[in-house]
């Protein structure tokens, strides 16, 4: 048994050495392969793949994936492409937009069409239920012409007519040419043209908005559009709703006219003669608009859509313009308020900001001079919210200030100046001019003393007033009230009112109120006219003291006129009617009769009957004279 075991071991060893002898080459080869494979693995893991390796394969592999794994590929690329588009837009907008615009244009057109459809439907619905005559007529028209109902409505509600066109010479405001849709216009075009120019000047210079010009005025359903050119301006009065393109047309036309008629415009500056060919140009413009309003051809289809968009645009633009203007205006107002505050010596504005709707103002004030009340400064509604903080501080002003202020305000020696409750007050007598200059300071919101207690020498005030009041009107100052007495012609009363307005506007008033209740209005011209009528009155007697029917009616009229005359003359005139008669007894009786009748008619006059030598002795014996006796008017002696 012993021998078998060693035999086994030796057999194994032998097989081993035989294998080595037979397979040594193969084994080395396998080990080599194994090593190379490991190296390759390592290389891949380290991504040492170069573009050069990949390039030839990329197209091929995408092609392959496209056909076999389409969805996966698209998903994988999607995010990458989106990001890269964004990047390229950032880098170069223009060429990108160029490339896209055909597509975007189409997209916008589509959106517009959809929106218009919606708009049309909305109108359709809105009007569908209305059975107004217009609605029915338009339906008929829509059926007849084949134009959609909604568009007809737009066309009928949106047309316009240029009613008047003015070409205005900029320098003088004179009219270079004018045309009107109705042939002759009722107004004075030269005056309108000049007034438009004046208002333009006024707007430009008063609001100082740079070269901002008045471009549109709305007057009772009419719009006045103004286009400014270098030598002429163009104004049209438009009825209805003009498209914005009209303004462009006008702009273009105005420019062309400047070029085509350069010589005529120069000639106009010299001779002021309306330029006929220009009138024709304007007539063409008007005729064009009339045609537009009437046209009902199907091509209006596109036009009416454009209408809507133009209108929308105008609405938006004017909204933004208005908004912008408001903000600018608010800014200006706030700036003005701030300046006023900064002028005050008793006040230090430290911080002033507008944040959105809130105004934040902070600073210091000296309470000796009174409290700073925001209400004094800020116009109502200027800013919805105000954070207005002025902390008290003590300035070194008061004592030394009196001398200072006296000098600053040129206070005359006759006036005392004191600081009380934080306000400067002046007492004493001073000239009108000084008081007015102090009032002017107040008016401007500048520091000023209270001059309510300053007295102006009576003679000076009287002279000042006399210079300004119509003759016949006297004025007397009773405290703060100016009392006007005397007589004023009705016509002058308007002028007096204008005068008073001027005083208020200039804040020149020494008084807070003007009392005109004691002012008597007279109507000299009306009185004279009535006097004339009375003079022409015929009174006819039938027989004796019996009046004829015509005489009776005439007497009634006479009574009415006398009553009116008395009413007008009021207590102005010492009115007295004297009936004169000639020497005959019949005439005396007739005069007496007339007196009775007039008194029955309640002519509250002293009626005196007396014989007159002045009256011509006539053949007939029934002459009666009437004299209206009063002071300022010449007496009338009339034979009835």
């Amino acid at each position: 048994m012993k021998t078998a075991k060693p035999e086994n071991t030796s057999a194994e060893q032998r097989l081993q050495s035989l294998r080595a002898a037979l397979l040594s080459d193969e084994q080395q080869h396998v080990a080599e392969l194994q090593r190379q494979l490991d190296a390759l693995r390592q290389e891949l893991a380290q991504q040492q793949l170069t573009p050069e390796h990949l390039a030839p394969l990329l197209a091929e592999s995408l092609d392959l994936a496209q056909s076999s794994e389409r969805e996966a590929l698209a998903g994988a690329l999607n995010a990458v492409v989106a990001e890269s588009v964004k990047e390229s837009v950032r880098a170069d907008k223009d060429s990108f937009a160029e490339a896209l615009s055909p597509m975007i244009g189409a997209a916008i057109r589509k959106a517009i069409t959809n929106a218009l459809k919606g708009f049309n439907q909305a109108i359709n619905q809105a009007v569908e239920h209305s059975l107004s005559m217009d609605g029915l007529r338009w339906r008929w028209e829509a059926w007849r012409t084949g134009v959609p109902y909604a568009q007809l409505i737009m066309r009928h509600t949106l047309p316009y007519v240029v009613e008047e066109a003015f070409l205005i010479h900029n320098d003088s405001g004179l009219l270079v040419a004018h045309a009107s849709s109705s042939g002759r216009s009722k107004v004075d075009n030269d005056a309108v043209s000049a007034m438009l120019t004046a208002i333009q000047d006024f707007v430009r210079d008063s609001f100082a908005v740079g070269d901002g010009q008045l471009e549109e005025v709305e007057i009772g359903g009419r719009m006045v559009w103004v286009i400014n050119g270098s030598r002429m301006s163009f104004a049209v009065v438009v009825h209805g709703t003009p498209p914005v393109s009209l303004r462009e047309d006008m702009d273009e036309l105005l420019q062309r006219l400047h070029v085509d008629y350069a010589e005529e415009i120069s000639a106009f500056a010299a001779d002021g003669k309306m330029v006929e060919p220009l009138v024709e140009e304007l007539q063409d413009l008007i005729a064009g608009s009339l045609e537009g309003a009437r046209q009902l051809q199907p091509k209006g289809r596109i036009k009416s859509r454009l209408w809507f968009w133009w209108l929308l645009l105008v609405a938006l633009l004017s909204f933004f313009a208005w908004n912008g203007w408001q903000q600018w205006h608010q800014h200006q107002q706030l700036q003005a308020v701030k300046q006023q505050l900064e002028l005050r010596e008793d006040l230090i504005v430290m911080d002033w900001v507008v944040r959105g709707d809130v105004l934040l103002a902070r600073g210091l004030y000296d309470p000796v001079f009174g409290i700073v009340d925001q209400g004094d400064y800020l116009p109502e509604g200027l800013v919805p919210e105000v954070d207005w903080l002025f902390a008290p501080y003590r300035s070194a002003l008061p004592e030394a200030a009196v001398a200072d202020k006296r000098e600053h305000w040129s206070v005359p020696p006759s006036v005392d100046l004191v600081l009380r409750d934080g306000r400067w007050r002046a007492h004493g007598e001073a000239s009108m001019a000084w008081v007015q200059s102090m009032r002017a300071l107040a008016h401007l919101g500048l520091p000023h003393p209270d001059v309510g207690l300053v007295v102006v020498p009576e003679a000076e005030l009287a002279k000042w007033l006399a210079d300004r009041l119509p003759s016949g009107v006297q004025a007397k100052l009773q405290g703060q009230v100016l009392q006007l007495t005397g007589r004023v012609e009705m016509a002058d009363e308007l002028l007096l009112a204008e005068e008073l307005r001027h005083w208020y506007a200039g804040n020149l008033l020494m008084f807070t109120e003007v009392d005109t209740s004691a002012l008597r209005r007279v109507r000299a011209s009306e009185l004279l006219r009535l006097g004339d009528l009375v003079a022409q009155q015929d009174l006819e007697f039938a027989t004796g003291v019996v009046m004829s029917p015509a005489g009776w009616a005439s007497m009634q009229q006479l009574a009415d006129r006398l009553k009116r005359w008395i009413e007008l003359a009021a207590d102005e005139i010492d009115a007295r009617v004297v009936l004169f008669h000639d020497a005959t007894e019949l005439a005396a009786r007739r005069a007496e009769k007339l007196r009775g009748l007039l008194q029955q008619q309640a002519v509250m006059l002293e009626v005196v009957v007396q014989p007159s030598e002045e009256l011509v002795q006539s053949d007939t014996v029934d002459a009666v004279g009437v004299v209206l006796k009063q002071q300022p008017l010449p007496a009338l002696a009339i034979t009835l």
Partner: protein, 165 residues
Amino acid sequence: MAAELTRKLCLIGDFGVGKTSLVNRYVREIFDDRYLTTVGVKIDTKVVEVNGAPMKLVIWDIAGTEEANAVYRSYLRGMAGFLLVADGTRAYTLDNALKLKDSIVQQMGDLPWVGLLNKADLVDEWEIEETHPALASADSRWIKTSASTSANVELAFERLASALP
């Protein structure tokens, strides 16, 4: 309307000398007086005959005389001539008018003008002597007028109209 000559002219002078009253005497009113207080100017027109031909005067009545004021200057722009108005009962208005005239002539050239010494009806209060240098010369351009009685109002306007270029 046949083409006619139009000319712009302005009334110039202190407040209260009677400019508005003079125009109102001369023309039929077109615009309300309110324009004077709001816009500071009021415009009227009148057709006159000059050498047999019609001429339309576009008359600008301007409130205020602040020469430095931009609006005032733009209102004067393009005028062919002007009426200078003073109040005979207040001598200083004549001096002011002459000063205004000088500054206008300096800025706008030698425009034709006619002077109106207004309120001639107020004889008792008259303050301007015949020997005043502006009036004494033989070729004085000043005329005594009264808007109250209409005296010489038409004459003054027409004299200016016929002097216009």
